[in-house]
């Protein structure tokens, strides 16, 4: 085990996979000379050269189409989209190419690329650079979507994503890059499609994604002072979803709060809520509560942004209400 920052864990995963497989290459805006705005690719251009670590112009649509064709022709590209807010520019390539080619060409085409990006609020980055658009990509069949919340998962899941033969959208969070945690050394992968139980509890299950897992853990500390034992389930794989883990947790606690930093309407939390009712209706002792971003643009003003974002205190309040 080594203590690492989340960004360093990503960097280690990229380095190890590039060392192990010459078909892995990186491209994106400012990832080479500058090392990436969040430093996830720091030092990699120096180590692997300009062919395998490419700086590109700002053109997300073209970059994603390039990832699709590169993957089809036998390489394993890792594309970085600097802000998840610009994911809509990548959608045509995802919806009409990456996600369907394996299907329409009868399995003859593999699509092993990773699209790394980061979203989320709390950094005063304003309405155009703070969004969590998880549900927009998780909606597409044929694409895997993961969002690790710890440095260990960041490394293990990025390695697994690069080796996967399907397109994987890898969602990071700007406020997670500097978080620290123990990371297993060596070639350790974390399988995609499995949830993580971050903390066991008996009264209520809190299902959270990405940075909301951190907020949920803080909420669990607050709830412990209220005499409530909360179980924190890290839905680090948004799609495929680990339904068994969700059902097992609810069968234990009979109460559920789902937390996602995206908008509420048609959001990922809505999908979780419906999935829980599909699979665990008879285990529920109260309606599933959702904690999400309100359906509004994110303000630049710090107090307003803070008021809007889902937080530990809001999760605690939702949990207590659910337990009434």
């Amino acid at each position: 085990m080594a203590m690492m920052r989340y960004a360093e864990a990503l960097n280690a995963a990229l380095r190890e996979e590039m060392q192990a497989d010459p078909s892995v290459f990186l491209f994106g805006e400012d990832i080479g000379r500058y090392g990436g705005v969040f430093k996830a690719t720091k030092g990699l251009m120096e180590e692997f050269g300009e062919k395998r670590v490419r700086d590109t112009p700002i053109s997300e649509q073209a970059l994603t189409a390039m990832a699709v064709t590169a993957a089809m022709t036998g390489t394993r590209p890792v594309l970085e989209i600097m802000y998840a807010d610009f994911m809509p520019l990548t959608l045509d390539a995802l919806v009409n190419q990456a996600s369907i080619y394996n299907y329409v060409w009868n399995g003859q085409v593999k699509m092993p690329f990773v699209l790394r990006t980061q979203g989320g609020g709390g950094a005063g980055a304003g309405a155009q650079h703070s969004k969590a658009l998880d549900s927009m990509v998780a909606h597409i069949p044929g694409i895997k979507v993961v969002a690790p919340s710890t440095p260990a998962d960041a490394k293990g899941m990025l390695k697994a994503a690069i080796r996967d033969s399907q397109p994987v959208v890898f969602l990071e969070h700007k406020l997670l890059y500097n978080t620290r945690g123990e990371v297993p050394e060596g070639d350790v992968t974390v399988p995609l499609g499995k949830a993580g139980i971050l903390r066991e509890g008996s009264d209520i299950s809190i299902f959270a994604t990405s940075k909301m897992v951190v907020e949920a853990s803080k909420a669990a500390d607050l709830l412990a002072m209220d005499g409530v034992s909360a179980e924190i389930v890290d839905l680090r794989s948004l799609r495929p979803l680990d339904i068994d883990a969700i059902v097992a947790s609810i069968a234990k606690t009979h109460h559920a709060v789902v937390v996602n930093e995206g908008w509420r309407f048609c959001g990922y939390a809505a999908e979780l809520s419906a999935t829980i009712m599909d699979h665990a209706f008879d285990e529920l002792d109260a309606p599933v509560a959702r904690v999400t971003l309100p359906d509004m643009p994110i303000p630049y003003s710090e107090p307003l942004e803070t008021a809007m974002l889902p937080s530990a205190e809001k999760i605690r309040a939702a949990a207590l209400k659910t337990l009434k």
Binding site: H254, F281, D282, D285, A286, K324
Partner: protein, 425 residues
Amino acid sequence: MATHPISIDSAGGEYMEAVLVVAWAAKPGDPVKAGDLIVTVETAKAATEIEADRDGWLADIFFTEGQEAPVGAVLGTIADEKPAVGQAAPVATIAAADPLAAANASSFVRQSGARAIASPLARRLAAAAGLDLSTVAGSGPRGRIKKRDIDAALAARSDAPGGILTAQAACPASLAAAPATARQTVPTLLIHGFGADRSVWRQVVPLLEPGIATISLDLPGHGAEAARPAKDIEEIAFTLSDRLEAMGVQDAHLVGHSLGGAAALALARFGRLTVRSVTLFAPGGLGPEINAGFIGGLARATSVQALERWLAVMVGDPAALPAGYAQAALRQIDRTGNRGALAAMAETLFPDGTQGFDLTTALAELGVPTRLVWGKLDRVIPAAHAARAPAFAAVHLLDGIGHVPQIEAPALTARLIAETVRSCG
């Protein structure tokens, strides 16, 4: 001025969450004597008369005629002294000064619907334990019944000797592994007939001896299952079997009336359930004859007058029908919206005015204590069908009784069910 509540808890039907106030026999300020009729309410499908339990004066009316009141609510009060003129609480205000009434005002809000508000988990646990949700007070938001309320109700039940389900209440904490409760006491399944619902047994259930645990289910297309009609007797048996399995019931005593009697036999023939005994009241499936006019009339009636005339055919003595029965039955049909389901089921179950299923073999193959009960004045299915009972079955022919012994002779019905259940140990 001391006042005493007039309430409906004892008169409430087994499955009722609410009653309808039909008529007050006195006005606030009127003197009343112990034993006087004071208010008539409608429960399930019968009008129930509530008598004054003491001498005094009618002081308050909290639920006026036409209002629904939850079972257990205080409908009004009797005062020991004559209330001053004008002091009587204005009619129809629930938020009276009386704290008891005020407490009931909130329960009125939460229970006034026809359906108990309960979490899915509470519903499942209650079903597995044979607990009637309408008897459980909900402590969650909007009065929702939660798991903790079921746990409390089951704990209370195990504390109350003489309760109908005492034998089952041993381990409420282990209910997550629900089937265990059903195994401890083999439950008695009550299956109603065409056009009725499970509340048809409400007069019988309280008369059963302690230790007999009952489960009454609505047939497909009836009551709470109005939206899911069935097309033949096998589908009915299949549906019942599925629901019993979901409740963790693996063996049961079967009691069926009319179409429910046929369903009981089909369920026994189906073989998924271990049947302990069978008690049949005017069962279907033992011959081709059926009063098609009655079936059609029952399914089609949209007015109280029309339904009343058909219901009179159902009983030996029309006076045996409680006052307001037709009205309540019609309201129930309107509420569940199952008129279409009834018409469709009448068509497929009784094509050409004939019973479309034959269960004489199923009856003859039963290897358990079996009892057939028929009213000699039955004008829906002829009592002559009782002659097709196999030699091992006991046959009871009831003088002066029509098609519905459970309504016409509830005490005898309860006794015959209890004797069958007891006869197999």
